[in-house]
């Protein structure tokens, strides 16, 4: 496998703990979220545009705190209420004790019985995908104070309204994740490359390259991943077929622009 093909793999967009890059802003959010989890809150809202790093952050928190603080993660929304309730039950009591006729009301009774005795934190990723009826029930479960929810959802006007309607009175902490700055973009690319021991590739990116990448991606980490993947795909082609057209010491803006063309950020 060529060097540039390996580099492509680094920038495949996936939510893994090792994908978490300790940027200044992400470290700040990470600490803020951990601090919020320690507080006796009912709900914590984590929101931001797609690609701002919510899922990676939630995964990182889960990975780091699951053993110490009874933190659980539901990364994919469970649409069926019965399944969802059973999953929550498994977080507070042994899975083997789940009653067959476990309903929402019965679960609320169980939670009220466990009040002051049990505290768990459940991280709900992609919470915007839960039906509004389910969100209402989540809100009522949080009132028992047995389960604290960290709700991660995309920020749109509509979803903002949902968040306000369902959680306004209960949310004590709100964390908004935003796209990265130019500095974040530079750190993200370089740290990711250095993390995989591609020091010489990390050095090939000039300020001009970073500015261009930031302009096309607006500092959105998912878009940066896509652009970098495409860039190394182009480099891989030239390295294999026309090696004289690429330099080993610097990245040409031309290839960044070609990547942007391919991804539709710009048009000929």
């Amino acid at each position: 496998m060529s060097r540039y093909r390996q580099l492509q793999n680094i920038f495949i967009d996936r939510i893994e703990v090792n994908q978490y890059i300790g940027l200044d802003t992400s470290i700040l959010f990470y600490n803020k979220l951990l601090e919020s989890i320690r507080k006796p809150l009912k709900m914590i809202l984590l929101y931001g545009r797609p690609g701002t790093g919510k899922s990676v952050l939630i995964n990182k928190i889960y990975h780091d705190a699951k053993d110490k603080r009874n933190v659980f993660l539901i990364s994919t929304p469970i649409q069926k209420e019965e399944e969802f309730i059973k999953k929550l039950y498994s977080f507070i009591l042994p899975e083997s004790t789940i009653p067959e006729d476990l309903t929402y009301n019965r679960f609320i009774d169980i939670c009220n019985a466990l009040k002051e005795k049990k505290h768990v934190t459940v991280l709900l990723d992609e919470a915007q995908l839960y039906p509004s009826g389910m969100m209402e029930k989540i809100r009522l479960i949080s009132d028992t104070r047995v389960i604290k929810f960290v709700v991660s959802l995309h920020k749109t006007e509509k979803e903002d309204l949902i968040a306000k309607e369902h959680f306004q009175s209960r949310i004590w902490e709100t964390i908004e994740l935003k796209n990265g700055t130019i500095h974040d973009t530079r750190m993200y690319i370089q740290k990711k490359l250095i993390h995989h021991n591609y020091f010489e590739i990390a050095n090939m990116f000039s300020n001009s390259n970073i500015r261009l990448i930031h302009r096309f991606t607006k500092g959105n980490y998912r878009e940066i991943n896509k652009l970098m993947f495409t860039l190394f795909e182009i480099y891989d082609y030239y390295e294999t077929n026309k090696p004289s057209k690429i330099s080993d010491t610097k990245i040409k803006n031309k290839y960044i622009e070609m990547s942007a063309l391919k991804l539709g950020y710009i048009h000929a």
Binding site: K254, M258, L261, A268
Partner: protein
């Protein structure tokens, strides 16, 4: 074709599209800058004066081709209108005298007057005759001195004889001039010329004071230069130059005047200063001639 190569082609299109407005803007800017410079050059050079000079050199009666020169001419004509109205007979006599005095000038291709413009040409005659006399001083100082001497002698004669001429009205003058011998006629002609020339320069200076036109200042400088008044010529060149420093003619007239006054170093210095900022074959050649003759 591979997808990446297609992408590269697409990128070339993207770049050319992106550069197009820049190129257009650049070319438009260059066009306007060129136009502006051209306008500025046309405004600062003395094309009009060049035409006038040529006109002065070739013939004294030819109508000016340039607007500003024409303006000056018309203004001169206006200033002279009064005397024209009065001295129709004199001007007729004068034109015949001019023909007698300068048979060679009649040989110039533009000299013959168009019948419809006879009045205008008659009007212009006196001034151009003056300028001819100036041009003769430029080409050769001796004749000028001679002419001046002759003029002073004649002037004395006139002052002795002139009492009836000065006092008499225009018709009387005309009759006398028609009847007199050649010498007498020449004396009366010189009288008329000198008075009109002074009026013209005065008028031009007055006009300059109103309009502050650098071309006019330069024209006055040249007139003084041709008249042999190099000090005034240099002074008016400085005035013209202060209004339009890029004017080649003002620098040239200044240098020529300085050279005539024996201040060649100043002339050379001025021409070098001009050449540091502008390029001019005319100035260069004059500078070379000055340096060669130093």
């Amino acid at each position: 074709m591979h997808e990446i190569e297609k992408l590269e082609k697409e990128w070339r299109r993207y770049k050319s599209k992106k550069r197009a407005p820049l190129l257009i803007a650049l070319s438009v800017a260059i066009f306007f800058a060129g136009g502006y410079l051209a306008l500025q050059n046309s405004g600062t050079t003395f094309d009009a004066l060049d035409v006038k000079n040529e006109y002065l050199k070739k013939s004294g009666d030819e109508a000016p081709k340039n607007h500003s020169a024409k303006d000056i001419y018309e203004s001169e004509r206006d200033s002279l209108n009064e005397s024209e109205e009065k001295t129709e007979n004199i001007t007729r006599a004068e034109s015949t005298i001019v023909q007698k005095e300068k048979p060679s000038s009649a040989d110039t291709p533009k000299q013959p007057l168009v019948p419809e413009e006879s009045e205008k040409s008659v009007v212009l005659n006196p001034d151009t005759d003056f300028l001819d006399s100036i041009s003769s001083t430029k080409s050769n100082n001796k004749p000028q001195k001679h002419a001046k001497a002759a003029e002073s002698v004649k002037h004395e004669r006139v002052s002795k004889k002139a009492a009836p001429v000065k006092k008499s009205d225009d018709t009387q003058n005309g009759e006398k001039m028609a009847a007199n011998e050649d010498e007498n006629v020449k004396v009366s002609t010189l009288q008329i010329k000198s008075s009109k020339t002074n009026n013209t320069l005065e008028y031009l200076i007055g006009r300059f004071n109103e309009k502050r036109d650098p071309k006019l200042a330069s024209y006055i400088a040249q007139s003084y230069y041709k008249k042999g008044n190099y000090n005034e010529a240099a002074r008016w060149s400085v005035i013209a130059n202060s209004l339009d420093p890029s004017s080649e003619e003002s620098w040239l007239t200044f240098a020529r005047s300085k050279a005539k006054m024996g201040q060649k170093e100043d002339a050379i210095k001025a021409l070098k200063v001009y050449l540091n900022q502008y390029s001019s074959k005319k100035v260069k050649s004059f500078l070379h001639s000055l340096e060669a003759g130093r």
